[in-house]
Symmetry: C2
Subunit: 659 residues, 2 copies
């Protein structure tokens, strides 16, 4: 949603003679963006454009200035787009802003009874935050370049401007170092990016107005470094990528040895040249200190230097690290845990812990980014992410750092923006798109649009439209599921399986990887129904809204009732259609309970609807029986939740409370 | 269907430790094929394979000999595949045969209650015909390299071994010539393959065991040559690619001028080097002779050389052409019309006219290929293609050349095989896959499998399985329609539109491009429902089978009746769901009648079912009314046919004839 939208009268038809002219400043990025824009528009409308010689271009683009060779934080992204029934003008101070405006134009194109058209409108637009990113973990599961590229296309579509590339973690080191080839040679299972590929991704991102910030997570989350370079570790090893279990995350760098800094100096020197962005992320999260505690030399070092604890040791490490980065003209970024007053105010703290932690950082004079609330891998609904604002401390947390006063304008100005996070425990190249999209569009809007744009149902309408647009770009967030369901079903028909898949969601937060379920085998297939299921069920949301409408109407809305009944009939019959398939596929056997629950709950809903329809009160014994069934169906099964249980429960409760 | 299949007991489990070992001869093609095989198997099963050190490979591949550097017609493609519950062995005389066997293995993998597995089996397999091709026209609509490549993947999957690349025609010249750059420079609208791209496609095809035979269609179908080189033409010009209408196809080369042969000598010399295959297709079809008739010099030439007519002139042209080809070590291939006894017996005649024409050619001692009956662009069902056999003259034709005796074994041996043809009047990169696949798999089976494999319902079961396999290869024959429907529907839900799309088919044969509908604008968008519709409706075939089952049971099969009723209810309600969408989209307005007809016909079917269900005879007046509606709905609307009209008509007729 742009910062300002003034609707006009009429519409601009998109015809076969549609063309774009560029005047003022232009550079390779804008020229290529215009090319891509035309291809994308042609793909979306199916019109093969053919410029008519001499005809005026339908869209005139003008930029006052070119953009920076290396995109800077805060570079002007504003633009003004005016569409009338005779043409469109896009003006921007920079070519970067013009690129943003072209994406807005694409999103305005729709089909009408007279053909494809853009409604007349005047838009003045600029982002609320200068840093709007997506973090992608490529360590737990490797994500190939082509998958990254289509996600960059998606990010550009929703005007995000930072790819935070989480390149190393316990499970794999993914960026080639020529100075330290064993980092990937022994620490990556052969799946990593060459420097040429990294440059290619950076150039691809730059062409789309996206900065690339690398993260090498140290001193913790660093097991993969130690396969090739065990001398960096605080414990004796040996180290392997495989395995899991409680001790798996203990390995940590040894900050007490000068050789560690010599290594990092060389490594960061190499990476600083490879990644042109001014910012460099060093991770710094979740050091559990076990290896430090177990190493007497490290404990001696702590005492000898007058440090009180492991946190002091990590702060010492960070201060030295920051100096290395500064020497390489890089600004340090790290997770909450790096926050210590002994670091210079130039650093950026990225908060996974919460808005209070972020507020604490900016009160101390640091810059900050919010990621708490934007963890896509926790499988929350888009609405939950959408309502998390980097500048609003909701919900309150109990962290010691909670500020007792609202932030001043100066403090707020140090909140640079935020980043969604896609941790990769449960994604492969096949399903990562559906874990990121379309929910990432809601986070992108939170970071771009004015703070008071918060209407959830209006957001969902835009998100659904964006989801379609993303498909034209080649994102597989919707198409991949069909193939995954077919894999499960073999030669069987997937219609009934799709009905089930449409109303389930993966369990939330860390329930799938809870302690008792570890160790996680990062080499296991991710081919279960949970892996194909969307994080948020559109059908369930739609159904819950129908039930809400029906109840709010005092059970009088017959159209809502008819639709509710149609869904319930479909679901109540579904288990009988699906059952034989569930038995014949090893991948589906675990879903028998879920399928039976769906049909059982739907039958309860139909009975409830009958009572409501006839204005009868359901007997208590019936209600007791149905509630037992509903409570059973509300529990996770095969790591999934049946999302229509709650609305059916509302019907059951309404039918027994009726009159 | 392999030539010989012996089922065994048990199955071979496909586990994470699955691996392949190659012994005997191997070459780059086989090594890469094994790599692709593992990737494909991993994709299809979702299992990330990890070879266990020391473990025996589950599949042992052995080839006795390598393959030819340039694939030869008739090169050995046989293989033997033995699968037991403890492992699989694939043996072949050549690496080419081993490649075929790997595709068979992939197709045997299925999901079971115990995981993915291949049933125990012994297969001895070799092709019936050595030439099994797909012709793709890239002139009417340009088909980019990536689209060709995925279709080559599909061809390899169904063991086809020739891509016949129709590179020039009236609407565009698509292959770069360095000697004659104006061929593409002026004759292609900028859309053509560079020589580098051509070499890339040839190498890609070779890696998959596919020969590439280029076609440059002359002397007719050659308008695109004349934009850059009007001196080749028999008429005065000027020539343009645009336009259409009756005279559009008249331009033809001038066979009376020596300069024409000088040009062709240089051109063919260049192309003969570019395309390594031993065969070279010169088209030769559909010369209407109008330009020859209108050119007095040409008529003088005909008389001066004692020729009787234009056919004699074309024969003269072909004889000279054949000599040029022979000098370049190429064997000439052409369409039926080139058949004249003055050409050497080495040439190959490709028959678009019929099996009788093919038989006539082989009786004269020529080799032949059948394409009649395999025209995918005519929108026939797979069953129709499937039952056309190159060696069986069915249906009888009335062509003068009809042989009066069956072919001798020697004559039959000159039938090299056949080719499906995808002419490109009505396809774009977006929908071409769905026009070729999965029906092309049925033609591939006709050309590979024994002549007595003709069971249609068994073919459909295999074709449906192949269709799923093709999706894993990246073919878009099923996925593209969803996007096309979304384009039509804008932000609207496509469920009801899909219901309609599922039961329609494009009009057949040349009905879409009939004379009164010309000129065809080859630059118009192909974004109508007809362009998204599949050539063959699975749903309609399935429904017709249900009706057949129900009627054959004497109206007693209650399961069939229940399913019929379910479909009829869905369709009878569909127009009300779809109607508002049809009104709001310019691309859907033309489909209002079709949608209304579907619901109307379905309602008639429901009433008929009620009569049958109650063993009542429907009144004559009712029947008259319904038949009027049915006859109306049976007519094409928006260039589409409603494929469920015929089975509903059977129900209506049954209900009124009942008792």
């Amino acid at each position: 949603m742009p910062s300002s939208v003034q609707p006009g009268a009429g519409q601009l038809a998109i015809t076969q003679s549609f063309s774009v002219a560029v005047s003022g400043a232009h550079d390779a990025s804008l020229d290529e963006e215009v090319q891509r824009f035309q291809t994308q528009l042609s793909r979306q409308t199916g019109i093969p454009f053919r410029r008519q010689p001499g005809a005026a271009p339908a869209l005139q683009v003008h930029a006052d200035h070119g953009r920076q060779a290396v995109q800077k934080l805060g570079e002007d992204e504003s633009y003004e787009l005016t569409v009338t029934d005779s043409g469109a003008k896009l003006n921007a101070p920079t070519t970067l802003g013009a690129m943003r405006g072209l994406q807005t134009f694409i999103q305005l194109v729709g089909i009408t009874p007279m053909g494809f058209a853009v409604p007349a409108v005047t838009i003045n637009d600029s982002p609320r935050f200068p840093w709007r990113g997506t973090m992608i973990d490529v360590s737990r599961h490797f994500i190939p370049v082509d998958v990254l590229k289509r996600n960059l296309d998606g990010m550009a579509f929703v005007k995000m401007n930072v790819l935070h590339w989480h390149l190393s973690d316990d499970q794999g080191f993914r960026a080639e170092s020529k100075r330290f080839p064993k980092l990937t040679g022994m620490g990556s299972d052969g799946m990593f990016y060459t420097q040429e590929e990294i440059r290619d991704v950076i150039a691809y991102a730059h062409d789309r107005g996206i900065r690339v910030v690398p993260e090498f997570d140290i001193p913790g989350h660093s097991r993969s470094w130690f396969l090739g370079y065990p001398e960096l570790a605080s414990g004796p090893g040996p180290y392997a990528l495989e395995g899991g279990g409680p001790g798996y995350v203990d390995p940590v760098m040894d900050p007490t040895r000068e050789s560690t800094y010599k290594f990092l100096e060389k490594f960061i020197g190499e990476m600083a040249k490879l990644f042109p962005d001014a910012y460099f992320h060093i991770g710094g999260d979740e050091v559990n200190g076990k290896q430090w505690n177990a190493n007497p030399k490290i404990q001696d070092f702590i005492h000898a230097h007058g440090m009180k604890n492991n946190q002091d040791l990590q702060a010492y490490f960070n201060v030295r690290l920051q100096k290395i980065l500064a020497k390489n003209h890089k600004i340090m970024v790290g997770w909450d845990e790096i926050l210590r007053p002994d670091l210079p105010k130039t650093i950026v703290v990225q908060s996974w812990r919460g808005q209070a932690s972020l507020a604490a950082a900016v009160k101390l004079g640091y810059s900050g980014l919010l990621s708490y609330g934007y963890y896509l891998d926790l499988m929350g609904p888009a609405s939950r992410h959408y309502l998390v604002d980097p500048m609003a401390i909701t919900p309150p947390t109990t962290l010691a750092a909670t500020p007792d006063a609202p932030l001043t304008p100066e403090e707020n100005a140090r909140i640079l923006g935020g980043e969604s996070c896609q941790w990769a425990e449960w994604v492969t190249p096949e399903n990562i798109d559906s874990h990121i999209w379309p929910r990432n569009a809601a986070i992108a809007e939170r970071l771009w649009s004015p703070q008071n744009v918060t209407d959830v149902s209006s957001m969902y309408a835009r998100m659904n439209a964006a989801s379609l647009g993303l498909e034209w770009l080649g994102l597989t967030h919707r198409s991949a599921r069909t193939l995954m369901l077919r894999r499960m079903a073999g030669d069987g028909d997937i219609a009934a399986l799709r009905v089930l898949a449409d109303v389930v969601e993966p369990v939330k937060d860390y329930d799938r990887s809870s302690e008792e379920k570890r160790p996680i085998d990062f080499h296991a297939p991710l081919t279960r129904l949970i892996d194909a299921a969307y994080p948020e069920s559109d059908t369930a949301r739609f159904f819950a809204n129908l039930v809400q409408t029906y109840i709010a109407s005092g059970y009088k809305d017959q159209d809502a009732e008819k639709q509710i009944r149609m869904w319930l009939v479909l679901w109540s019959n579904n288990d009988s259609h699906l059952h034989s398939l569930l038995e014949t596929s090893s991948l589906l056997q675990e879903d028998e309970t879920l399928s039976a629950n769906l049909s059982g709950v739907a039958s309860a809903g139909l009975q409830a609807l009958d009572y409501l329809d006839k204005s009868q009160t359901a007997p208590d014994s019936w209600k007791t029986q149905q509630m037992a069934l509903i409570n059973q169906a509300d529990k996770p099964s095969a790591d999934m939740l049946l999302m229509v249980v709650a609305p059916v429960q509302r019907l059951v409760e309404a039918s027994s409370a009726h009159n």
